[in-house]
Amino acid sequence: MMTSKFFFEWFLPGIWITIQVLVYSAVLAGVVSFVIGTLRTSRFWIVRFLAGTYFEIFRGMSALIMMFWMAFVVPLMLGWQFVPMFSGVLALGLTYGAYGSEIVRGALAAVPPAQREAGIALSFTRMQRLRRIELPQAWPEMVPPFNNLLIELMKGTALVSVITVADMTFAGNLVRLSKNESMPIYTLLLVLYFVLAFILTRGMRMLERKAKAGVGRAPEGRTILTRKLSPKGELDQARAGTAGAGGAG
């Protein structure tokens, strides 16, 4: 089993590195999502075309290969190299941002055209409409898919271990190489990633509730994972169920 020395020297720092990679690449992906997603709704075809091209290219690109490319090809081309973590964050942020742009574009497209027209009737500029009307209304629709994407991204951070970023997967591989004890170490890793996902989901659910309250809507039913195990919660769900059935009948 893992020695405590190893645990403190590699594993704990590895968790911290994973969290750092996650935070940086999530921020980058978020920025890319909103910028590219919004540009894809531009009224200028050239802007739509360029943003759409970004989306197609980066959606179709393997984040892993892009990391290799940045870690091993860029130095050959430029004569200097990125810090490995930077390569990892860039590759993850740019590719997941491409997926995220689709979430933003889709949610913007789902805002009823009547809202755009109401904005025009009050003489808002396009930027004002986007910022004050369309994006705030699209936001609650974006949060659940962003939650999925964030969890995919979180799991995707394990890729950085192959370009020698010492995240928790990297630490786990070290243990296996030195001690040849795969079972406990990978089980622990599975659990750790799961716990991270769980925490992220809880956070995103809170965000979703806030977002929906911000447009005067009640949050939807909870998922198994995040449902409060209180009798009242169960009751509410049961009631919602019968109400739905009654409405259909």
């Binding site: 009547a114 025009i120 009050l122 003489s123």
Partner: protein, 268 residues
Amino acid sequence: MSSSKNETENPAVDGSELIRFDKVTKRYGSNVVLDQLDFSVNSGKHITLIGPSGSGKTTILRALMTLVKPEEGTIKVSGQYLFHEEKDGKLVDAGESHIREVRKNIGMVFQQFNLFPNMKVLRNITEAPVHVLGLDKDEADERARELLELVGLTEHLDKYPSQLSGGQQQRVAIARALAMRPQILLLDEVTSALDPELVAGVLDLLRDIARSTDITMLCVTHEMGFARDISDDVLMFNEGKVIESGAPEKIFSEPEHERTREFLSAVL
């Protein structure tokens, strides 16, 4: 409520021409919706547009609001072209900022209210005065409160639109349009999405506004009693043209055109 007369500072309520449609044509594919349409509205007048479904009434209001662009012809508002600019004596397509300037004279209330669901009632009303007209926040708040009093919703200013009834939402939408102090108010079947018991209240409010302000109103409605009450003129549309116009007493009692008679007998 009579105080609102002074709040609408319309520059020209001298009865001069405020809106002019000149040979305006709008097509959807081969469907000619507005057909070389000519008409004008003098400032301060209350005009009701009537006509069968699909005759182009909504399209006229949407063209004035710049939500649809006619293929041919010109529209003038307050002496300025809506979709065009004059350059070297020639008419060219206007840019966004010109259109926005002219459009500031015009407000619209929609059939489906179209309040902003992400803003509470007060902010629905203050958002455009603050960010479009550049009013400071307190001034806009104050004015919004006055308007909410006018429409009878003072106690609801801190609610989201989704927490209001249809009638209440429509009153907020009316207040929101008035907050921009438009010279022209466009009303497209503003009561037809409401439960029957809520219609009268909204119509009374509009009567009140018509009586106590100088705003020029263009109103599409199927409420003939209301049209009779507030209109200076009624325009009867058919197939994208005005086929008959005149004072409501005349149009409703002794219409000249056969098509008008048919239409009125169907709706009255």
